[in-house]
C-alpha cells in the first residue's frame, strides 16, 4: 500500500533514478511510487537528467557491420540502411564517367583525410580537456593539503602547551563511525576541535560544538564538514572547569542553547 507523499520520498528519487537506492529505502520507495503521481513526475525529471549524463561518455559510431547485423536481425536492414552515396548511373560513354569517377575518388580520399584529421583534432581536444580537469583537481588537493598542514601546526602548538590535553568525542546515534578530538590549552584558555566522518548536512543546518561548565552547555562555535566528513572549530574562550564536550545539529548559524540531536560526545 502506498504511503503519503513526503519530502523524504523526494530525497530518495535521485538515488533511485541512478539505481543506487538499496535496502529498506528501496523497498519503501517502490511501495510508494505506484500510488504517487507527484513522485512519478519528479522521477521522470531525474531520469531526463540522467539521460543527459549518459552524454558525458563520448558517443561512438557503430561500425557498418554491427549496424547491418542488428538491423538485419530485425528484418529492417535492406530497406532501412541509408545509402552513403547514390549509385552511379551507367553511362554509355566512358569519357563521360571516367573523369567523374576520378574526381569522385579524389573527393572521397579528401573527405576521408579530413574526417581522420577531424577525429585527431577532437581526440587532442579531449585530452586537453582531461588534463585541464586534472590540473583543477590537483589545485583543489593542494588547497586541502595546505589547510590540513596549517591545522596540524595549530593542533601541535596547543598539544605542546604546558598542561595541554586532548579529549576524545565518540559518535552517537545515527553516526557511530564519527569521532572528534578537542585539544585544550588550559593556560591560554583556548582549544581546537576536529571532527571526522560526520555526514554532510542540508544547507540550512550546521554542526555546533558545546562544552559543559557548571552543568550547563556553553556554545563553542559552529562548523560544517567537507565532503570527507571533516570539520574543525577554534575555541578562544574556555571556562576554567569543563565537565564535557558535545556536538549537535542545529539550524544554520547555531543557537544559544542546544535543540538538536547529539552526534558526538566526550
Amino acid at each position: 500500500m502506498s504511503t503519503a507523499h513526503s519530502p523524504r520520498h523526494e530525497e530518495m528519487l535521485p538515488a533511485y533514478a541512478l539505481g543506487a537506492l538499496d535496502g529498506e529505502e528501496l523497498r519503501e520507495l517502490e511501495a510508494h511510487l505506484p500510488g504517487c503521481d507527484e513522485c512519478r513526475r519528479l522521477l521522470r525529471g531525474w531520469e531526463d537528467d540522467l539521460e543527459q549524463l549518459a552524454a558525458a561518455a563520448p558517443p561512438l559510431e557503430p561500425s557498418a557491420e554491427v549496424r547491418r547485423r542488428i538491423l538485419g536481425a530485425t528484418g529492417a536492414a535492406p530497406a532501412a540502411i541509408p545509402a552513403r552515396s547514390e549509385p552511379v548511373r551507367r553511362r554509355s560513354q566512358a569519357w563521360v564517367w571516367l573523369p567523374l569517377a576520378a574526381a569522385l575518388a579524389l573527393l572521397v580520399v579528401g573527405l576521408a583525410r579530413q574526417a581522420r584529421l577531424q577525429g585527431e583534432i577532437e581526440r587532442l581536444q579531449g585530452e586537453r580537456d582531461q588534463l585541464a580537469q586534472q590540473v583543477t583537481a590537483l589545485d583543489q588537493q593542494l588547497v586541502v593539503a595546505r589547510g590540513e598542514a596549517q591545522r596540524m601546526a595549530e593542533a601541535l602548538s596547543v598539544i605542546n602547551a604546558p598542561g595541554g590535553r586532548a579529549v576524545r568525542l565518540a559518535g552517537l546515534g545515527p553516526t557511530p563511525e564519527a569521532f572528534g578530538h578537542t585539544f585544550i590549552d588550559p593556560e591560554r584558555g583556548r582549544a581546537l576541535f576536529y571532527a571526522a566522518r560526520l555526514p554532510e548536512l542540508a544547507p540550512d543546518k550546521d554542526y555546533q560544538l558545546w562544552f559543559f561548565a557548571d552543568g550547563k552547555p556553553v556554545p563553542a562555535g559552529v562548523f560544517d564538514v567537507d565532503t570527507n566528513g571533516n570539520g574543525s572549530v577554534r575555541v578562544d574562550r574556555l571556562a576554567s572547569d569543563i565537565q564535557g564536550w558535545a556536538v549537535t545539529i542545529e539550524p544554520r548559524g547555531g543557537l544559544p542553547a542546544p535543540s538538536g540531536d547529539i552526534v558526538l560526545k566526550g
Partner: protein, 175 residues
C-alpha cells in the same frame, strides 16, 4: 516508438541511427571493451525491437528508455565478469581516446552535449562526482559505494543527493 512496436523496420532503423552512438559510447564507458560494448548494443536493440510494446511514453523518453535498458544489460555483463578484471578509470580514458565521433551534424551536437555535461560534472566536488559515476557507470548501490570508497553510508547518500541537485542546476544553467 509506436511504429517500432508495430514492426515498422524503417522506424526502427531511424531509432537505431538516432540513439546507437550515445548508447554505444555509454556501453564502452561502462565495459571498457569495444567488442563487448557492440555485443551488448546488439542485445539492447534487439530487446528494444521485441519489447517496444512495453515502452511507456509517459514514463520516459525513447532515449532514456534505451539507455536504461543498456545500463541494465551492461551491469549484468559486469557482474558476470571476474571483479578483478574490471577496469576503472582506465576504461573511461581509453574510451575517450578511441572514440570515433558520429558523422555529420550529429557529431557537432554530440560533442557540444558531451562538453556541456562534462563542464556540469566539473562543478561537482570530486567526491560527489565519484559517487555519481560509480552509481551511473558501474551500477553500484549506496552500500556498495560506501564499501568501495571506505566512506560512511550517510556521507555517500549526502554526496549523491547534493551532487545530483548540483548537476541538475548546472545542466539547466548550461542549457
Amino acid at each position: 516508438m509506436s511504429r517500432v512496436a508495430h514492426g515498422d523496420g524503417e522506424a526502427f532503423a531511424r531509432l537505431f541511427d538516432l540513439h546507437a552512438p550515445v548508447v554505444l559510447g555509454l556501453l564502452y564507458r561502462i565495459l571498457g571493451s569495444r567488442g563487448e560494448a557492440e555485443e551488448v548494443l546488439q542485445e539492447v536493440f534487439l530487446q528494444t525491437w521485441t519489447q517496444s510494446a512495453r515502452y511507456d511514453g509517459d514514463r520516459s523518453s525513447p532515449r532514456a528508455w534505451v539507455l536504461m535498458l543498456a545500463r541494465s544489460r551492461a551491469f549484468d555483463r559486469l557482474r558476470r565478469r571476474d571483479s578483478a578484471r574490471r577496469r576503472d578509470e582506465e576504461a573511461g580514458a581509453e574510451a575517450r581516446l578511441m572514440a570515433v565521433p558520429p558523422v555529420g551534424t550529429e557529431r557537432l551536437e554530440a560533442r557540444e552535449r558531451s562538453e556541456r555535461v562534462s563542464s556540469a560534472l566539473g562543478l561537482l566536488s570530486p567526491e560527489q562526482r565519484r559517487c555519481i559515476e560509480l552509481a551511473f557507470f558501474e551500477g553500484l548501490t549506496h552500500t556498495q559505494i560506501a564499501e568501495r570508497l571506505e566512506a560512511p553510508l550517510g556521507t555517500v547518500k549526502s554526496r549523491i543527493l547534493l551532487g545530483m541537485n548540483k548537476l541538475r542546476q548546472a545542466l539547466s544553467t548550461a542549457s
